[in-house]
Every structure is written in structure tokens, then in C-alpha cells.
């Protein structure tokens, strides 16, 4: 079973939930348990899990390099590039690697065969273990603009569908293409929402992207609840979203998080409801 944890708003507790689900599943005997940190711009699940990272590779996208001698400035590559990563100024073809999506169309289509692909490094992928949990993360290099290819590469490298196991995808915040890339292929998406006007607003955007646009199975976990969840519960009811769990806002939990300690360390009682949540998702899958 593959479960993505996403949110819309940042700081609602995606990583807290993903790490806690991984730990709870491993303790309940689920095997294998894998956690992929796909928040490539700021991966921080490793701070809670403290894994040993044994494997490391850089990843990028293939970007075009134009042979000035062969190029006859027909302009075909510029017309075909939907990312606008190429411009033909008549005397040379300019390439903008930060706009390129690495689709390879220009290279394949060039009538003069004047284009070859060179690697444009975007960041690093790392993998290892934290006890029983297989862990991997993507890290975008500073100044780079495209996290989605790194997310795709990490999933291709380490995501395995297993009928008995559990793979957790810790998505970036927001509702943009990198979130959609992170959640793609998930059997379920848990949206972690905080009961504030900001949390509610961004929850709506995430539902729009992941359920309405992508057709994924989406349900909600409310975090940082202080018992005034009316607005968010109403939203979930009106939009046919199951609320699977409500986690409280408590100073002690926040303090532990700030020290890089997991939720289950300070609230071992949360383990049972987390396992129950996973069972709900599995049951739903078997019924479907």
C-alpha cells in the first residue's frame, strides 16, 4: 500500500504524521516499511528519523546543447519547446537550463541533428535505513528551480509497490506540480490540515489538485486541534472528505518536534490510532 501525506499549507504536520505512521507500522509488524521524503526543497524527515544514509547519487535532467556548426537556424527546436527553454537569435541558439523540463523533443526532432543532450544537475538523492524503516530523500541544489524531476527520480529508484508492506510518500507543501508528482501513484492521500483559516484555505487547494484534478483517493487528518474544528469539519462534510484522525495541539508535542523528537516518543498513546488509520485505508482498498 502506498500512502502519500500532503497538506496544502506548510507546517501542518506532514512529516510528523508520515514519520509516526512509519514507526507505528513497523512496530505493528508491517514489512517492509519505506518512507520517501519528497519535499526536495526542504527535506527534514531525516531529522526525526535519524537514518544512516549509505547510498547517494546526483540527479539531473538532460538539457540540449546546440552544435553551432551544424545548426542552420531553422527554428524547429524553438517552436517545439513548450517550456520556452530555447531561443534562436539568428547567430546562435540560446539554452535556458532552468526552464528546460528535459523532455528531449528538441534533440529527437532537430532536422540537422545538431543537438545533443548534456546532464544538468538538479540535486542529490540519498537512501539508507532507520532501524526497520527503509528511508530515502531528495534534495534540490540551492538556486535550482525544478524539484519535480528529482521527486520522479527518487520514486523510480526506491518506490516499490508491495501488497503487504507500506510505502509513505512525504510530499512538499502547496498544490503545485511537485506535490502532484509526489502523490502520483499513491493508493491513498492523507491531507494534514490545521484548523485555521489558512489551513482550511490551502486544504481546498490541495483537494482540488489531488482529488479533483488527479482523481486520487483523498482523506483528511486534522492536526493541532484545540477542539474548535467546526469550520474544517463542515468543509470536509460538504466535500465528502473522510476525517480519519484528529491530533491535538499540545505544547509538549510542539516542544518535542522542535528538538527533533517524534510524536510517538512523547505520545506513545497515538500509536494505536495510527495503526487503526492504516487498517482503515487497507480495508478501503480491499473493498474497492
Amino acid at each position: 500500500m502506498i500512502v502519500a501525506v500532503a497538506s496544502g499549507k506548510g507546517g501542518t504536520g506532514k512529516t510528523t504524521l508520515a514519520v509516526s505512521l512509519a514507526l507505528a507500522a513497523a512496530r505493528a509488524g508491517v514489512e517492509p516499511v519505506t518512507l520517501l521524503d519528497l519535499d526536495a526543497e526542504a527535506p527534514n524527515a531525516a531529522l526525526l528519523l535519524d537514518p544512516v544514509l549509505e547510498e547517494r547519487r546526483t540527479t539531473g535532467i538532460p538539457v540540449p546543447e546546440v552544435d553551432a556548426v551544424r545548426c542552420d537556424h531553422c527554428g524547429e527546436c524553438v517552436r517545439l519547446c513548450r517550456a520556452h527553454a530555447l531561443a534562436d537569435i539568428g547567430t546562435s541558439v540560446l539554452v535556458f537550463p532552468d526552464l528546460c523540463i528535459g523532455c528531449g523533443v528538441c534533440t529527437a526532432w532537430c532536422p540537422q541533428r545538431a543537438i545533443r543532450e548534456v546532464d544538468h544537475v538538479l540535486g542529490t538523492l540519498e537512501a539508507g535505513r532507520a532501524g526497520p524503516i527503509a528511508f530515502a530523500q531528495a534534495q534540490l541544489d540551492p538556486g535550482r528551480a525544478q524539484p519535480a524531476p528529482l521527486i520522479r527520480a527518487l520514486k523510480a529508484w526506491k518506490m516499490r509497490a508491495s501488497p503487504t508492506g507500506l510505502t509513505l510518500l512525504d510530499a512538499p507543501p502547496g498544490a503545485s506540480c511537485s506535490v502532484m508528482e509526489a502523490a502520483r501513484g499513491a493508493d491513498h492521500v492523507l491531507l494534514v490540515a490545521e484548523p485555521s483559516v489558512f489551513g482550511l484555505h490551502d486544504l481546498g487547494k490541495a483537494v482540488g489538485a489531488l482529488r479533483d484534478a488527479m482523481g486520487l483517493d483523498v482523506s483528511v487528518v486534522i492536526n493541532q486541534s484545540v477542539g474548535r474544528d467546526d469550520a474544517i469539519l463542515r468543509f470536509c462534510e460538504e466535500n465528502a472528505l473522510a476525517v480519519r484522525l484528529v491530533l491535538p495541539f499540545e505544547r509538549e508535542i510542539a516542544a518535542a518536534y522542535a528538538e527533533g523528537r517524534s510524536l510517538l516518543e512523547v505520545r506513545p498513546a497515538c500509536e494505536a490510532p495510527l495503526v487503526e488509520l492504516l487498517l482503515q485505508l487497507r480495508t478501503k482498498e480491499q473493498l474497492a
Partner: protein, 107 residues
């Protein structure tokens, strides 16, 4: 010489656009022919790459001089290496921007 003005609308009474790449129209004035052309910018609404696309559009139309507000670094590279000169203008009608560009050019 061809002069392009980044414009919010298709008329010379329209306001100059706020951002070059997302400018909905370019009004192109051909000094030799004494004629004008409205060029719609197909990339006005895209999320990324609009500046480079708009710069290529102007090169394809043989523009020599651009009257526009802020031009992003990538579009600037395409335009300047493509031999297009700039006239910075903001908060005025396209007609006034054209006048301004022609005046600067003759100084």
C-alpha cells in the same frame, strides 16, 4: 526600424503592460512602412518561460527597439544578444511610450 510596445490592450490608448513577458499584446510600429501591427502574446498566461517566449516572438517580428517596463534576466539575454535595444517606460499609454522610445532613439 520596428518599435514594439508591451501593452495591456490592443490599442494605442491601452496602458503599457506591467511585466514584459506577461504582456498581453505587443503593438509593433514600422517606421519605414508607417504602419502598425497588433501582435498577441500567446505566452501571457503561462507559468514559466513567458519572457523567453515573448522575446523570441519579437525577434521573429524583426523588432529593433522595445518599449517596456521590467524585463526579466532571461528575456533580457535573448533580446540584447538578438540586437534589440530597450526603452524603459511605465505607467503611461502605449501611444506615449512609442513617442518616448522614438524621442530617445533620436537623441
Amino acid at each position: 526600424m520596428k518599435i514594439a510596445v508591451a501593452s495591456n490592450g490592443p490599442h494605442w490608448s491601452s496602458d503599457v503592460a506591467d511585466v514584459f513577458g506577461r504582456s498581453p499584446y505587443f503593438l509593433v510600429f514600422d517606421e519605414e512602412a508607417g504602419s502598425a501591427q497588433v501582435v498577441a502574446n500567446p505566452g501571457a498566461g503561462i507559468t514559466s518561460g513567458s519572457g523567453v517566449g515573448a522575446a523570441q516572438l519579437l525577434l521573429d517580428h524583426g523588432v529593433d527597439l522595445l518599449a517596456a517596463p521590467k524585463v526579466g534576466p532571461q528575456a533580457h539575454k535573448v533580446l540584447s544578444e538578438g540586437g534589440v535595444r530597450f526603452c524603459f517606460c511605465k505607467g503611461m499609454q502605449a501611444r506615449a511610450a512609442l513617442k518616448e522610445a522614438r524621442r530617445e532613439e533620436t537623441v
